[in-house]
Symmetry: C2
Subunit: 269 residues, 2 copies
């Protein structure tokens, strides 16, 4: 058995998120079905980020175990042929058999995209949240700084979340305006349920002058979901990438080298 | 009666082009229907560019005559409420009653977008033509120069075209690569049927080293559709904007000032 890692991009518009659910089509379910069909064995992927209904991904990560002889790097080509056009594997490669996409240390980067104009743009309408009122980007940038570092993010976590520990670290949170497009780009060691969307919804209040940048500190300190702003719509959110430490590609190479060394020692006796 | 100009953006994916056709949904038909419903009078728009099935527009132009008292600048807000989400009016304003979007001198700008990567990108899959082979952008840029200026573009015109005069002027044709996205941006005084898509299809052959940049001169000289490359797919094409000379906004203001002057003279007796 080998463990294969997939870098998965998807347009989340038509999916009820990543995780398998009864009576709803999810990305995980489609991957399991198409991988099982392609490899003629029962495949169950393990996903890194269980994105919500309607959320997009450029680089979500999944792994699975297989006994196939198809070279790992070629698997994505075969798989993309049978996948629907809104799910595209960007890369596939072998990793160490103990690599787990949720348990290994990682840095996740999300983007939240806002179209701030008089009218919707028909071409990015599925990937941006449309806001009519002109947003004060400078105020939003000022507010963003309060999120940096290690905090208890209870105020920025859905009350439906079940994890007990709400302490997370945000390494960077940048807000950039290019024409009518405002992009929030956030990197952290992990995010709670709805956390990025609540941060985006809160920064939108600041951009509309309904809240002051300084109030973010109080909101975090409150450790109460009601202190923060609303959850911004799913379609503006995109999981950009997940960086692992150490990188599983490197681990894979080291692991394979180790195996080769072992094999060679066996041969030498 | 006043003549109103609309700047129309649309995602052409689901439409059989601009122009009304039996048994097919077109942008023109949707505009006529929704304008007539909104203004409670029979409205017939005149479009500037009759884009093909599947082609997109950021700034196509349409005009229509109406006796409504709704201020011209407010019309787009009312209209966008009832239009489907893939057609969005970006602006509406009054123009001189003799302004005609196809007969006035204009400069049109189109973009042809190519996604040049190992795999499709799920987010722009509807607005780019996917090309797997790495394209030689420098060769394409070299080839692009041969299109500049006034030429008989018979070789770059669909044989189905019915206009007798095939002479057009291309003012600029730039090719830019940003990451995996290659954009051809072309401005001219007018384009023949399928002309931008045939130019794109021919430049793709150059980018794949199937034709040399210098051969473009011979292709143009041949005045024969078979001399040029294939017609690139519709979904990569976008009508970006149409610039009129003089600008109808300016004409409108001058015209209205004239009317006001006349009125004032009448009042003065």
């Amino acid at each position: 058995m080998r463990r294969i890692m997939l870098i998965v991009a998807y347009d989340g518009t038509k999916y009820c998120g990543w995780q398998i659910q009864p009576n709803a089509v999810t990305v995980e379910e489609v991957l399991n079905r198409e991988l099982s069909r392609l490899l003629k064995e029962e495949i169950t992927v393990i996903g890194a980020s269980r994105t919500d209904s309607g959320v997009h991904a450029m680089g979500n990560v999944a792994v699975f175990d297989t006994s196939t002889r198809i070279p790992a790097e070629k698997l994505c080509y075969a798989l993309n042929h049978s996948l629907p056009e809104d799910i595209v594997i960007q890369k596939s490669f072998e990793v160490a058999p103990d690599f787990h996409p949720r348990k290994w240390d990682s840095k996740k980067t999300y983007e939240y995209n806002i179209w701030n104009a008089d009218f919707v743009q028909p071409f990015n309408r599925g990937y941006t949240h449309f806001v009519y009122h002109t947003l004060d980007v400078e105020a939003m940038q000022k507010a963003a700084r309060y999120f940096l570092g290690e905090h208890d993010f209870t105020s920025f976590c859905s009350t439906k979340a079940q994890v007990p520990d709400h302490v997370r670290t945000i390494y960077s949170l940048e807000i950039e305006k290019k024409g009518n497009l405002i992009t929030l780009r956030v990197t952290g060691n992990g995010f709670l349920y709805n956390m990025v969307r609540i941060i985006a919804g809160t920064l939108l209040l600041v951009g509309e002058h309904q809240r002051k940048p300084e109030e973010i500190a109080e909101m975090i300190a409150a450790k109460n979901r009601e202190a923060a702003g609303p959850t911004a719509p799913a379609k503006g959110l995109m999981l950009v990438k997940i960086d692992y430490f150490p990188a599983p590609e490197r681990v894979e190479r080291e692991f394979i080298n180790e195996c080769i060394n072992e094999k060679q020692e066996e041969i030498r006796g």
